[in-house]
Protein backbone atom coordinates (compact mmCIF):
# COMPACT_ATOMS: atom_id res chain seq x y z
CA UNK A 1 0.00 0.00 0.00
CA UNK A 2 2.85 2.39 0.83
CA UNK A 3 4.34 1.58 -2.55
CA UNK A 4 1.10 2.48 -4.36
CA UNK A 5 0.95 5.84 -2.63
CA UNK A 6 4.62 6.47 -3.22
CA UNK A 7 3.87 5.77 -6.89
CA UNK A 8 0.99 8.27 -6.84
CA UNK A 9 3.28 10.84 -5.21
CA UNK A 10 5.96 10.25 -7.86
CA UNK A 11 3.47 10.44 -10.74
CA UNK A 12 2.04 13.71 -9.41
CA UNK A 13 5.49 15.25 -8.96
CA UNK A 14 6.65 14.10 -12.40
CA UNK A 15 3.36 15.19 -13.95
CA UNK A 16 3.60 18.61 -12.35
CA UNK A 17 7.11 19.16 -13.70
CA UNK A 18 6.22 17.83 -17.15
CA UNK A 19 3.01 19.87 -17.43
CA UNK A 20 3.44 23.01 -15.35
CA UNK A 21 7.06 22.99 -16.53
CA UNK A 22 6.09 24.32 -19.94
CA UNK A 23 3.75 26.95 -18.46
CA UNK A 24 6.57 28.22 -16.27
CA UNK A 25 8.99 27.93 -19.20
CA UNK A 26 6.78 30.06 -21.43
CA UNK A 27 6.51 32.57 -18.57
CA UNK A 28 10.31 32.75 -18.47
CA UNK A 29 10.51 33.28 -22.24
CA UNK A 30 7.95 36.10 -22.41
CA UNK A 31 10.52 38.95 -22.29
CA UNK A 32 12.16 37.45 -25.39
CA UNK A 33 8.91 36.82 -27.24
CA UNK A 34 7.50 39.25 -29.77
CA UNK A 35 3.84 38.24 -29.50
CA UNK A 36 3.32 37.82 -25.76
CA UNK A 37 -0.46 37.62 -26.08
CA UNK A 38 -0.14 34.64 -28.35
CA UNK A 39 2.40 32.89 -26.12
CA UNK A 40 0.21 33.35 -23.03
CA UNK A 41 -2.82 32.30 -25.07
CA UNK A 42 -1.06 29.07 -26.05
CA UNK A 43 -0.58 27.96 -22.42
CA UNK A 44 -3.84 29.55 -21.18
CA UNK A 45 -6.20 26.58 -21.57
CA UNK A 46 -3.65 24.23 -19.98
CA UNK A 47 -2.60 26.16 -16.87
CA UNK A 48 -5.60 25.34 -14.68
CA UNK A 49 -5.32 21.65 -15.50
CA UNK A 50 -1.54 21.70 -14.99
CA UNK A 51 -0.96 23.65 -11.79
CA UNK A 52 -3.54 21.54 -9.99
CA UNK A 53 -1.07 18.62 -10.05
CA UNK A 54 0.89 20.40 -7.32
CA UNK A 55 -2.27 21.02 -5.30
CA UNK A 56 -2.95 17.29 -5.55
CA UNK A 57 0.65 16.53 -4.59
CA UNK A 58 0.24 18.69 -1.48
CA UNK A 59 -2.94 16.80 -0.65
CA UNK A 60 -1.24 13.41 -1.03
CA UNK A 61 1.59 14.60 1.22
CA UNK A 62 -0.94 15.69 3.85
CA UNK A 63 -3.09 12.59 3.66
CA UNK A 64 -0.66 9.76 2.89
CA UNK A 65 2.68 11.16 4.14
CA UNK A 66 1.73 13.63 6.90
CA UNK A 67 5.02 13.28 8.80
CA UNK A 68 6.98 14.00 5.67
CA UNK A 69 4.73 16.96 4.86
CA UNK A 70 5.42 18.66 8.18
CA UNK A 71 9.14 17.87 8.08
CA UNK A 72 9.79 18.96 4.51
CA UNK A 73 7.74 22.14 4.50
CA UNK A 74 8.81 23.45 7.89
CA UNK A 75 12.48 22.54 7.36
CA UNK A 76 12.57 24.56 4.13
CA UNK A 77 10.32 27.32 5.36
CA UNK A 78 11.76 30.32 3.55
CA UNK A 79 12.08 28.74 0.16
CA UNK A 80 8.60 27.13 0.36
CA UNK A 81 7.14 30.54 1.21
CA UNK A 82 9.02 31.99 -1.79
CA UNK A 83 7.62 29.22 -3.97
CA UNK A 84 4.05 29.93 -2.87
CA UNK A 85 4.42 33.70 -3.30
CA UNK A 86 5.88 33.19 -6.79
CA UNK A 87 3.00 30.90 -7.69
CA UNK A 88 0.49 33.49 -6.45
CA UNK A 89 2.15 36.30 -8.42
CA UNK A 90 2.31 34.19 -11.59
CA UNK A 91 -1.37 33.23 -11.31
CA UNK A 92 -2.43 36.81 -10.60
CA UNK A 93 -0.59 37.87 -13.77
CA UNK A 94 -2.47 35.30 -15.83
CA UNK A 95 -5.90 36.09 -14.42
CA UNK A 96 -5.56 39.89 -14.38
CA UNK A 97 -3.64 40.86 -17.53
CA UNK A 98 -6.65 41.01 -19.84
CA UNK A 99 -9.23 42.19 -17.33
CA UNK A 100 -8.68 45.90 -18.06
CA UNK A 101 -7.72 47.67 -21.27
CA UNK A 102 -4.53 49.66 -21.62
CA UNK A 103 -0.99 48.62 -22.53
CA UNK A 104 0.46 49.58 -19.13
CA UNK A 105 -1.93 47.32 -17.23
CA UNK A 106 -1.26 44.37 -19.50
CA UNK A 107 2.52 44.87 -19.52
CA UNK A 108 2.55 45.02 -15.71
CA UNK A 109 0.72 41.72 -15.25
CA UNK A 110 2.69 40.09 -18.07
CA UNK A 111 5.75 41.07 -16.07
CA UNK A 112 4.16 39.43 -13.02
CA UNK A 113 3.90 36.16 -14.99
CA UNK A 114 7.61 36.27 -15.78
CA UNK A 115 8.70 37.27 -12.27
CA UNK A 116 6.45 34.60 -10.77
CA UNK A 117 7.71 31.96 -13.20
CA UNK A 118 11.33 32.82 -12.41
CA UNK A 119 10.58 32.67 -8.70
CA UNK A 120 8.88 29.29 -9.13
CA UNK A 121 11.82 27.78 -11.02
CA UNK A 122 14.44 29.11 -8.60
CA UNK A 123 12.55 28.16 -5.45
CA UNK A 124 11.90 24.67 -6.82
CA UNK A 125 15.65 24.37 -7.17
CA UNK A 126 16.01 25.47 -3.56
CA UNK A 127 13.41 22.99 -2.28
CA UNK A 128 14.81 20.04 -4.26
CA UNK A 129 18.44 20.76 -3.35
CA UNK A 130 17.37 21.35 0.25
CA UNK A 131 15.68 17.99 0.73
CA UNK A 132 18.81 16.15 -0.33
CA UNK A 133 20.75 18.25 2.18
CA UNK A 134 22.41 20.69 -0.20
CA UNK A 135 23.51 24.16 0.94
CA UNK A 136 21.77 27.36 -0.16
CA UNK A 137 24.25 28.06 -2.94
CA UNK A 138 23.62 24.65 -4.47
CA UNK A 139 19.91 25.42 -4.27
CA UNK A 140 20.39 28.54 -6.34
CA UNK A 141 22.49 26.69 -8.90
CA UNK A 142 19.90 23.91 -9.04
CA UNK A 143 17.24 26.57 -9.52
CA UNK A 144 19.07 27.78 -12.60
CA UNK A 145 19.12 24.19 -13.89
CA UNK A 146 15.36 23.91 -13.33
CA UNK A 147 14.79 27.27 -15.05
CA UNK A 148 16.82 26.25 -18.10
CA UNK A 149 15.01 22.89 -18.32
CA UNK A 150 11.61 24.63 -18.05
CA UNK A 151 12.56 27.27 -20.62
CA UNK A 152 13.60 24.55 -23.08
CA UNK A 153 10.33 22.70 -22.42
CA UNK A 154 8.31 25.90 -22.80
CA UNK A 155 10.00 26.75 -26.08
CA UNK A 156 9.38 23.23 -27.40
CA UNK A 157 5.74 23.52 -26.35
CA UNK A 158 5.33 26.75 -28.31
CA UNK A 159 6.99 25.18 -31.38
CA UNK A 160 4.60 22.23 -31.04
CA UNK A 161 1.44 24.25 -30.39
CA UNK A 162 2.13 27.00 -32.95
CA UNK A 163 4.44 25.36 -35.51
CA UNK A 164 6.22 27.85 -37.73
CA UNK A 165 5.03 30.82 -35.65
CA UNK A 166 7.36 33.63 -34.61
CA UNK A 167 6.69 32.92 -30.87
CA UNK A 168 9.22 30.07 -31.19
CA UNK A 169 11.37 31.65 -33.90
CA UNK A 170 9.50 29.80 -36.63
CA UNK A 171 10.48 26.37 -35.32
CA UNK A 172 8.26 23.30 -35.67
CA UNK A 173 8.29 20.42 -33.23
CA UNK A 174 6.25 17.23 -33.14
CA UNK A 175 4.78 15.28 -30.26
CA UNK A 176 7.94 13.20 -29.80
CA UNK A 177 10.08 16.31 -29.30
CA UNK A 178 7.58 17.57 -26.72
CA UNK A 179 7.84 14.21 -24.96
CA UNK A 180 11.62 14.54 -24.83
CA UNK A 181 11.48 18.07 -23.43
CA UNK A 182 8.95 16.86 -20.86
CA UNK A 183 11.46 14.26 -19.68
CA UNK A 184 14.11 16.99 -19.47
CA UNK A 185 11.71 19.08 -17.34
CA UNK A 186 10.91 16.12 -15.07
CA UNK A 187 14.47 15.01 -14.47
CA UNK A 188 15.41 17.68 -11.86
CA UNK A 189 12.54 16.48 -9.65
CA UNK A 190 12.75 12.74 -10.21
CA UNK A 191 16.45 12.43 -9.40
CA UNK A 192 16.11 13.64 -5.76
CA UNK A 193 12.86 11.69 -5.32
CA UNK A 194 14.59 8.51 -6.48
CA UNK A 195 17.48 9.08 -4.08
CA UNK A 196 15.06 9.58 -1.17
CA UNK A 197 12.50 6.89 -2.08
CA UNK A 198 13.22 4.78 1.01
CA UNK A 199 12.88 7.71 3.42
CA UNK A 200 9.61 8.76 1.82
CA UNK A 201 8.06 5.29 2.07
CA UNK A 202 9.11 5.07 5.75
CA UNK A 203 7.02 8.13 6.52
CA UNK A 204 3.77 6.87 5.01
CA UNK A 205 0.56 7.00 7.04
CA UNK A 206 -0.62 3.74 8.70
CA UNK A 207 -2.43 1.23 6.53
CA UNK A 208 -5.86 2.12 7.99
CA UNK A 209 -5.53 5.60 6.52
CA UNK A 210 -4.04 4.42 3.23
CA UNK A 211 -6.82 1.82 2.80
CA UNK A 212 -9.53 4.44 3.16
CA UNK A 213 -7.73 6.76 0.76
CA UNK A 214 -7.24 3.95 -1.77
CA UNK A 215 -10.84 2.86 -1.56
CA UNK A 216 -12.15 6.35 -2.19
CA UNK A 217 -9.56 7.74 -4.58
CA UNK A 218 -8.39 4.89 -6.82
CA UNK A 219 -11.78 4.19 -8.52
CA UNK A 220 -11.78 7.78 -9.77
CA UNK A 221 -8.31 7.76 -11.32
CA UNK A 222 -9.76 7.08 -14.83
CA UNK A 223 -12.01 10.12 -14.42
CA UNK A 224 -9.06 12.33 -13.43
CA UNK A 225 -7.00 11.04 -16.35
CA UNK A 226 -9.94 11.36 -18.75
CA UNK A 227 -10.50 15.00 -17.83
CA UNK A 228 -6.82 15.75 -18.46
CA UNK A 229 -6.88 13.98 -21.83
CA UNK A 230 -9.98 15.97 -22.75
CA UNK A 231 -8.05 19.21 -22.18
CA UNK A 232 -5.28 18.11 -24.55
CA UNK A 233 -7.72 16.93 -27.20
CA UNK A 234 -9.64 20.21 -27.01
CA UNK A 235 -6.84 22.76 -26.97
CA UNK A 236 -3.91 21.17 -28.76
CA UNK A 237 -4.82 22.68 -32.11
CA UNK A 238 -6.68 25.59 -33.65
CA UNK A 239 -6.87 29.32 -32.90
CA UNK A 240 -5.32 30.49 -29.63
CA UNK A 241 -8.03 31.53 -27.15
CA UNK A 242 -7.79 34.96 -25.55
CA UNK A 243 -9.13 34.89 -21.99
CA UNK A 244 -5.75 34.91 -20.17
Amino acid sequence: MEIIWFGILAVLLAGYFALEGFDIGVGLLLPFTGDRDKAVGAIGPFVLANEVWLVALGGVLLGAFPLLEGEVLSAHYGVVVALLLSWIVRDAGLWFRRRLDGPGWRAFWTGAITVGSLGLALSWGGVLAGIIGGPALLGLAYGVVVAVAFAFHGWTFLAWRLPGDAVAQGARRGGAALGVSAVVAMAPALVPLGVLAGDVVDRAAPSATLSVLSLIVLPFVPVLAGAQVWVWRSFGKGAVPTFF
Binding site: A56, G59, L62, G63, V81, A205, I216, W230
Partner: protein, 386 residues
Protein backbone atom coordinates in the same frame (compact mmCIF):
# COMPACT_ATOMS: atom_id res chain seq x y z
CA UNK B 1 3.55 39.74 19.26
CA UNK B 2 5.25 36.40 19.71
CA UNK B 3 5.66 33.61 17.17
CA UNK B 4 2.40 31.90 18.16
CA UNK B 5 0.37 35.11 17.80
CA UNK B 6 1.85 35.83 14.39
CA UNK B 7 1.22 32.29 13.18
CA UNK B 8 -2.39 32.55 14.38
CA UNK B 9 -2.87 35.94 12.73
CA UNK B 10 -1.39 34.64 9.51
CA UNK B 11 -3.82 31.74 9.49
CA UNK B 12 -6.77 33.94 10.49
CA UNK B 13 -6.14 36.56 7.82
CA UNK B 14 -5.46 34.11 4.99
CA UNK B 15 -8.38 31.85 5.98
CA UNK B 16 -10.79 34.78 6.20
CA UNK B 17 -9.68 36.12 2.83
CA UNK B 18 -10.04 32.65 1.34
CA UNK B 19 -13.53 32.28 2.80
CA UNK B 20 -14.72 35.66 1.41
CA UNK B 21 -13.86 34.59 -2.14
CA UNK B 22 -14.93 30.97 -1.75
CA UNK B 23 -18.36 31.91 -0.37
CA UNK B 24 -19.06 33.98 -3.48
CA UNK B 25 -17.72 31.21 -5.72
CA UNK B 26 -20.07 28.68 -4.11
CA UNK B 27 -23.00 31.03 -4.63
CA UNK B 28 -22.29 32.17 -8.18
CA UNK B 29 -21.30 28.79 -9.65
CA UNK B 30 -24.82 27.30 -9.66
CA UNK B 31 -26.30 30.60 -10.86
CA UNK B 32 -23.96 30.73 -13.85
CA UNK B 33 -24.70 27.06 -14.50
CA UNK B 34 -28.45 27.76 -14.48
CA UNK B 35 -28.03 30.71 -16.89
CA UNK B 36 -25.90 28.58 -19.17
CA UNK B 37 -28.53 25.80 -19.10
CA UNK B 38 -31.23 28.26 -20.12
CA UNK B 39 -29.05 29.45 -22.97
CA UNK B 40 -28.37 25.94 -24.27
CA UNK B 41 -32.03 24.98 -23.98
CA UNK B 42 -33.53 28.07 -25.56
CA UNK B 43 -30.73 29.32 -27.80
CA UNK B 44 -31.79 32.81 -26.67
CA UNK B 45 -28.76 35.16 -27.03
CA UNK B 46 -29.91 37.13 -23.96
CA UNK B 47 -29.18 34.05 -21.83
CA UNK B 48 -25.78 33.78 -23.46
CA UNK B 49 -25.02 37.38 -22.49
CA UNK B 50 -26.16 36.73 -18.92
CA UNK B 51 -23.94 33.65 -18.70
CA UNK B 52 -20.89 35.45 -20.04
CA UNK B 53 -21.32 38.60 -17.95
CA UNK B 54 -21.93 36.84 -14.62
CA UNK B 55 -19.47 34.14 -15.62
CA UNK B 56 -16.63 36.63 -15.83
CA UNK B 57 -17.55 38.15 -12.44
CA UNK B 58 -17.49 34.60 -11.06
CA UNK B 59 -14.08 33.97 -12.64
CA UNK B 60 -12.40 37.15 -11.44
CA UNK B 61 -13.56 36.27 -7.95
CA UNK B 62 -12.41 32.67 -8.45
CA UNK B 63 -8.82 33.78 -9.13
CA UNK B 64 -8.40 34.99 -5.54
CA UNK B 65 -10.09 31.87 -4.22
CA UNK B 66 -7.33 29.82 -5.86
CA UNK B 67 -4.34 31.83 -4.72
CA UNK B 68 -5.56 32.17 -1.12
CA UNK B 69 -6.35 28.45 -1.16
CA UNK B 70 -2.76 27.59 -2.09
CA UNK B 71 -1.53 29.25 1.09
CA UNK B 72 -4.18 27.47 3.13
CA UNK B 73 -3.10 24.05 1.91
CA UNK B 74 0.61 24.46 2.51
CA UNK B 75 0.32 26.47 5.70
CA UNK B 76 -0.45 23.34 7.73
CA UNK B 77 2.95 21.88 7.01
CA UNK B 78 4.75 25.22 7.25
CA UNK B 79 3.65 26.66 10.55
CA UNK B 80 1.42 23.97 12.11
CA UNK B 81 3.49 20.82 11.70
CA UNK B 82 2.51 19.88 15.28
CA UNK B 83 -0.97 19.27 13.87
CA UNK B 84 0.23 17.13 10.97
CA UNK B 85 2.50 15.18 13.31
CA UNK B 86 -0.21 14.55 15.91
CA UNK B 87 -3.27 14.08 13.69
CA UNK B 88 -2.13 14.04 10.06
CA UNK B 89 -3.03 10.35 9.71
CA UNK B 90 -6.67 11.29 10.30
CA UNK B 91 -7.03 14.98 9.48
CA UNK B 92 -5.00 14.65 6.27
CA UNK B 93 -7.30 12.07 4.69
CA UNK B 94 -10.30 14.34 3.93
CA UNK B 95 -7.92 17.06 2.71
CA UNK B 96 -6.18 14.61 0.39
CA UNK B 97 -9.55 13.45 -0.95
CA UNK B 98 -10.56 17.08 -1.44
CA UNK B 99 -7.50 17.89 -3.55
CA UNK B 100 -7.63 14.69 -5.64
CA UNK B 101 -11.32 14.09 -6.19
CA UNK B 102 -12.78 17.58 -5.91
CA UNK B 103 -10.35 20.38 -6.66
CA UNK B 104 -8.31 18.50 -9.26
CA UNK B 105 -11.47 17.95 -11.29
CA UNK B 106 -12.88 21.39 -10.53
CA UNK B 107 -9.79 23.12 -11.88
CA UNK B 108 -9.61 20.88 -14.96
CA UNK B 109 -13.28 21.34 -15.83
CA UNK B 110 -13.08 25.06 -15.14
CA UNK B 111 -10.31 25.38 -17.72
CA UNK B 112 -12.46 23.44 -20.19
CA UNK B 113 -15.40 25.74 -19.51
CA UNK B 114 -13.46 29.02 -19.70
CA UNK B 115 -11.62 28.18 -22.90
CA UNK B 116 -14.17 25.81 -24.41
CA UNK B 117 -16.57 28.46 -25.80
CA UNK B 118 -17.16 27.92 -29.54
CA UNK B 119 -14.83 24.94 -29.37
CA UNK B 120 -16.53 22.16 -27.35
CA UNK B 121 -19.91 20.74 -28.36
CA UNK B 122 -22.55 22.92 -26.68
CA UNK B 123 -23.93 20.30 -24.34
CA UNK B 124 -20.54 19.05 -23.23
CA UNK B 125 -19.48 22.63 -22.64
CA UNK B 126 -22.56 23.10 -20.46
CA UNK B 127 -21.75 19.88 -18.61
CA UNK B 128 -18.38 21.43 -17.66
CA UNK B 129 -19.91 24.26 -15.61
CA UNK B 130 -22.22 21.82 -13.83
CA UNK B 131 -19.22 19.60 -13.06
CA UNK B 132 -17.36 22.67 -11.77
CA UNK B 133 -20.32 23.42 -9.49
CA UNK B 134 -20.60 19.83 -8.30
CA UNK B 135 -16.89 19.53 -7.55
CA UNK B 136 -16.87 22.93 -5.81
CA UNK B 137 -19.62 21.65 -3.51
CA UNK B 138 -17.65 18.42 -2.99
CA UNK B 139 -14.61 20.51 -2.10
CA UNK B 140 -16.64 22.36 0.49
CA UNK B 141 -17.86 19.03 1.86
CA UNK B 142 -14.40 17.53 2.39
CA UNK B 143 -13.01 20.76 3.83
CA UNK B 144 -15.91 20.79 6.29
CA UNK B 145 -15.22 17.12 7.15
CA UNK B 146 -11.64 18.10 8.03
CA UNK B 147 -12.76 21.17 9.97
CA UNK B 148 -15.41 19.19 11.85
CA UNK B 149 -12.73 16.78 12.97
CA UNK B 150 -10.97 19.70 14.66
CA UNK B 151 -14.24 20.63 16.38
CA UNK B 152 -14.98 17.09 17.47
CA UNK B 153 -12.25 14.48 16.85
CA UNK B 154 -14.50 11.52 16.11
CA UNK B 155 -13.27 8.29 14.54
CA UNK B 156 -9.72 8.38 15.93
CA UNK B 157 -7.85 7.08 18.98
CA UNK B 158 -4.53 8.01 20.50
CA UNK B 159 -1.72 5.53 19.87
CA UNK B 160 1.60 6.56 21.37
CA UNK B 161 1.80 10.28 20.75
CA UNK B 162 -0.30 10.30 17.58
CA UNK B 163 -3.94 9.90 16.59
CA UNK B 164 -4.80 7.00 14.31
CA UNK B 165 -7.89 6.57 12.17
CA UNK B 166 -10.25 3.90 13.48
CA UNK B 167 -13.59 4.76 11.92
CA UNK B 168 -13.80 6.82 8.74
CA UNK B 169 -17.61 6.70 8.89
CA UNK B 170 -17.49 8.59 12.19
CA UNK B 171 -15.71 11.46 10.41
CA UNK B 172 -18.63 11.72 8.03
CA UNK B 173 -21.28 11.28 10.73
CA UNK B 174 -19.75 14.03 12.86
CA UNK B 175 -22.51 16.06 14.55
CA UNK B 176 -20.51 19.24 13.94
CA UNK B 177 -20.61 18.52 10.18
CA UNK B 178 -24.16 17.57 9.29
CA UNK B 179 -25.91 20.91 9.73
CA UNK B 180 -22.80 23.04 9.22
CA UNK B 181 -22.21 21.85 5.64
CA UNK B 182 -25.63 22.96 4.28
CA UNK B 183 -25.27 26.09 6.45
CA UNK B 184 -22.09 27.01 4.54
CA UNK B 185 -23.61 26.24 1.13
CA UNK B 186 -26.65 28.39 1.96
CA UNK B 187 -24.35 31.20 3.07
CA UNK B 188 -22.73 30.94 -0.36
CA UNK B 189 -26.10 31.25 -2.11
CA UNK B 190 -27.01 34.23 0.06
CA UNK B 191 -23.68 35.88 -0.82
CA UNK B 192 -23.98 35.13 -4.54
CA UNK B 193 -27.59 36.35 -4.64
CA UNK B 194 -26.72 39.53 -2.72
CA UNK B 195 -23.85 40.39 -5.09
CA UNK B 196 -26.06 39.78 -8.09
CA UNK B 197 -28.91 41.93 -6.80
CA UNK B 198 -26.59 44.68 -5.54
CA UNK B 199 -24.74 44.95 -8.85
CA UNK B 200 -28.03 44.95 -10.77
CA UNK B 201 -29.53 47.59 -8.49
CA UNK B 202 -26.45 49.74 -9.10
CA UNK B 203 -26.87 49.52 -12.86
CA UNK B 204 -30.62 50.20 -12.68
CA UNK B 205 -30.04 53.14 -10.33
CA UNK B 206 -27.66 54.60 -12.94
CA UNK B 207 -30.47 54.28 -15.52
CA UNK B 208 -28.60 51.67 -17.52
CA UNK B 209 -29.29 51.12 -21.20
CA UNK B 210 -29.40 47.40 -20.36
CA UNK B 211 -32.63 47.62 -18.39
CA UNK B 212 -34.07 44.23 -19.26
CA UNK B 213 -30.72 42.52 -18.62
CA UNK B 214 -30.33 43.92 -15.13
CA UNK B 215 -34.02 43.68 -14.20
CA UNK B 216 -33.78 39.96 -14.92
CA UNK B 217 -30.52 39.71 -12.94
CA UNK B 218 -32.02 41.64 -10.04
CA UNK B 219 -34.94 39.24 -9.82
CA UNK B 220 -32.69 36.19 -9.98
CA UNK B 221 -30.43 37.72 -7.31
CA UNK B 222 -33.29 38.48 -4.91
CA UNK B 223 -34.81 35.00 -5.25
CA UNK B 224 -31.42 33.36 -4.70
CA UNK B 225 -30.56 35.59 -1.75
CA UNK B 226 -33.90 34.82 -0.11
CA UNK B 227 -33.53 31.07 -0.59
CA UNK B 228 -29.98 31.31 0.79
CA UNK B 229 -31.07 33.44 3.74
CA UNK B 230 -33.92 31.07 4.59
CA UNK B 231 -31.69 28.01 4.65
CA UNK B 232 -28.70 29.71 6.26
CA UNK B 233 -30.88 30.76 9.20
CA UNK B 234 -32.64 27.36 9.38
CA UNK B 235 -29.46 25.28 9.30
CA UNK B 236 -27.80 27.81 11.59
CA UNK B 237 -30.32 27.25 14.36
CA UNK B 238 -30.43 23.54 13.60
CA UNK B 239 -26.72 23.16 14.30
CA UNK B 240 -26.71 24.79 17.72
CA UNK B 241 -27.91 21.61 19.45
CA UNK B 242 -25.52 19.15 17.75
CA UNK B 243 -22.55 21.49 18.21
CA UNK B 244 -23.26 22.14 21.88
CA UNK B 245 -23.67 18.40 22.41
CA UNK B 246 -19.93 18.03 21.82
CA UNK B 247 -18.69 21.54 22.70
CA UNK B 248 -20.77 22.62 25.71
CA UNK B 249 -20.87 26.37 26.31
CA UNK B 250 -18.95 26.98 23.04
CA UNK B 251 -20.17 30.57 22.74
CA UNK B 252 -20.57 31.34 26.42
CA UNK B 253 -17.00 30.86 27.59
CA UNK B 254 -15.24 32.81 24.84
CA UNK B 255 -16.09 36.52 24.63
CA UNK B 256 -15.11 37.01 20.97
CA UNK B 257 -16.95 33.87 19.86
CA UNK B 258 -20.02 35.04 21.77
CA UNK B 259 -19.99 38.48 20.16
CA UNK B 260 -19.45 36.92 16.73
CA UNK B 261 -22.29 34.43 17.04
CA UNK B 262 -24.68 37.06 18.40
CA UNK B 263 -24.02 39.53 15.62
CA UNK B 264 -24.11 36.81 12.98
CA UNK B 265 -27.57 35.76 14.14
CA UNK B 266 -28.83 39.35 14.22
CA UNK B 267 -27.55 40.22 10.75
CA UNK B 268 -28.69 36.86 9.39
CA UNK B 269 -32.24 37.37 10.64
CA UNK B 270 -32.23 40.90 9.29
CA UNK B 271 -31.10 39.62 5.88
CA UNK B 272 -33.83 36.99 5.93
CA UNK B 273 -36.39 39.69 6.65
CA UNK B 274 -34.98 42.16 4.10
CA UNK B 275 -34.74 39.63 1.27
CA UNK B 276 -38.23 38.40 2.14
CA UNK B 277 -39.63 41.92 1.73
CA UNK B 278 -37.72 42.39 -1.53
CA UNK B 279 -39.12 39.09 -2.76
CA UNK B 280 -42.65 40.28 -2.03
CA UNK B 281 -41.94 43.45 -4.03
CA UNK B 282 -40.21 41.58 -6.86
CA UNK B 283 -42.66 42.68 -9.52
CA UNK B 284 -42.08 46.38 -8.89
CA UNK B 285 -38.51 46.30 -7.67
CA UNK B 286 -36.76 46.99 -11.02
CA UNK B 287 -38.81 50.20 -11.39
CA UNK B 288 -38.56 51.52 -7.84
CA UNK B 289 -35.36 53.48 -8.20
CA UNK B 290 -35.51 54.89 -4.65
CA UNK B 291 -35.15 51.37 -3.29
CA UNK B 292 -32.01 50.52 -5.26
CA UNK B 293 -29.48 52.17 -2.90
CA UNK B 294 -30.92 50.06 -0.08
CA UNK B 295 -30.46 46.90 -2.16
CA UNK B 296 -26.84 47.92 -2.76
CA UNK B 297 -26.34 48.42 0.98
CA UNK B 298 -27.31 44.79 1.60
CA UNK B 299 -24.50 43.47 -0.64
CA UNK B 300 -21.61 43.60 1.89
CA UNK B 301 -23.73 42.13 4.71
CA UNK B 302 -23.39 38.43 3.80
CA UNK B 303 -19.60 38.85 3.61
CA UNK B 304 -19.59 40.25 7.14
CA UNK B 305 -21.75 37.40 8.45
CA UNK B 306 -19.55 34.82 6.74
CA UNK B 307 -16.53 36.14 8.66
CA UNK B 308 -18.54 36.33 11.89
CA UNK B 309 -19.65 32.74 11.38
CA UNK B 310 -16.07 31.61 10.86
CA UNK B 311 -15.02 33.47 14.02
CA UNK B 312 -17.87 31.93 16.02
CA UNK B 313 -16.88 28.44 14.94
CA UNK B 314 -13.10 28.74 15.29
CA UNK B 315 -12.80 31.10 18.28
CA UNK B 316 -15.32 28.94 20.09
CA UNK B 317 -12.89 26.00 20.27
CA UNK B 318 -9.94 28.00 21.67
CA UNK B 319 -7.48 27.25 23.18
CA UNK B 320 -7.85 23.92 21.40
CA UNK B 321 -6.87 23.27 17.82
CA UNK B 322 -8.30 19.76 18.05
CA UNK B 323 -11.00 20.07 20.64
CA UNK B 324 -9.98 18.47 23.93
CA UNK B 325 -6.86 16.86 22.39
CA UNK B 326 -4.29 19.31 21.02
CA UNK B 327 -3.89 22.97 21.88
CA UNK B 328 -3.12 25.59 19.27
CA UNK B 329 0.17 26.31 21.07
CA UNK B 330 1.21 22.64 20.86
CA UNK B 331 0.36 22.51 17.16
CA UNK B 332 2.86 25.22 16.27
CA UNK B 333 5.88 24.02 14.27
CA UNK B 334 8.64 23.32 16.81
CA UNK B 335 11.55 25.72 16.37
CA UNK B 336 9.63 28.15 14.17
CA UNK B 337 11.53 31.43 14.50
CA UNK B 338 10.21 34.97 14.77
CA UNK B 339 12.12 35.85 11.60
CA UNK B 340 10.48 33.07 9.59
CA UNK B 341 6.94 33.77 10.67
CA UNK B 342 7.36 37.54 10.26
CA UNK B 343 8.66 37.04 6.75
CA UNK B 344 5.81 34.75 5.71
CA UNK B 345 3.21 36.90 7.49
CA UNK B 346 4.34 40.03 5.65
CA UNK B 347 4.61 38.13 2.35
CA UNK B 348 1.27 36.33 2.43
CA UNK B 349 -0.82 39.02 4.07
CA UNK B 350 0.79 41.79 2.01
CA UNK B 351 0.57 40.09 -1.38
CA UNK B 352 -2.83 38.48 -0.87
CA UNK B 353 -4.24 41.64 0.72
CA UNK B 354 -3.14 43.76 -2.24
CA UNK B 355 -4.43 41.23 -4.76
CA UNK B 356 -7.76 41.06 -2.92
CA UNK B 357 -8.15 44.83 -3.20
CA UNK B 358 -7.23 44.73 -6.91
CA UNK B 359 -9.69 41.89 -7.40
CA UNK B 360 -12.62 43.72 -5.80
CA UNK B 361 -11.80 46.87 -7.76
CA UNK B 362 -11.80 44.77 -10.94
CA UNK B 363 -15.15 43.22 -10.08
CA UNK B 364 -16.58 46.70 -9.47
CA UNK B 365 -15.18 47.93 -12.80
CA UNK B 366 -16.63 44.95 -14.66
CA UNK B 367 -20.03 45.47 -13.05
CA UNK B 368 -19.88 49.11 -14.09
CA UNK B 369 -18.84 48.31 -17.65
CA UNK B 370 -21.89 46.10 -18.10
CA UNK B 371 -22.50 43.24 -20.52
CA UNK B 372 -21.00 44.89 -23.60
CA UNK B 373 -17.59 43.53 -24.66
CA UNK B 374 -17.21 40.59 -22.27
CA UNK B 375 -14.00 38.73 -23.16
CA UNK B 376 -15.29 35.43 -21.74
CA UNK B 377 -16.78 33.44 -24.60
CA UNK B 378 -15.86 35.99 -27.28
CA UNK B 379 -15.89 34.55 -30.76
CA UNK B 380 -12.38 33.94 -32.15
CA UNK B 381 -11.21 37.02 -34.06
CA UNK B 382 -10.76 35.63 -37.60
CA UNK B 383 -14.49 34.93 -38.02
CA UNK B 384 -15.42 32.18 -40.42
CA UNK B 385 -16.64 33.50 -43.74
CA UNK B 386 -18.37 31.47 -46.38
Amino acid sequence: MDVLDLARWQFAVTASLHFLFVALTLGLAPLVAIMHTRYVRSGNPEHERLTRFWGQIYLVNYALGIVTGLVMEFQFGLSWSGLTHYAGDVFGAPLAIETLLAFFLESTFLGLWVFGWHRLPKRLHLACIWLVTLTAYLSAFWIMVANSFLQNPAGAVLQGDRLVLTDFGALLANPTLQMAFPHVLSAGLLTGGAVMMGASAYQLFRRTAEREFFARSLRMGVITAFVGAFFVVSFGFAQIGPVESVQPNKWGANALAGVAVGNMISIGMLLFLATGILLALLKWLPNWRWLHPLVMLITPMPFITVILGWLAREEGRQPWLIYGKLTVADALTPGLTAGQITLSFVGFVGVLGLLAVVDYVLIARLVRRGPERVPLGERPVPALTF
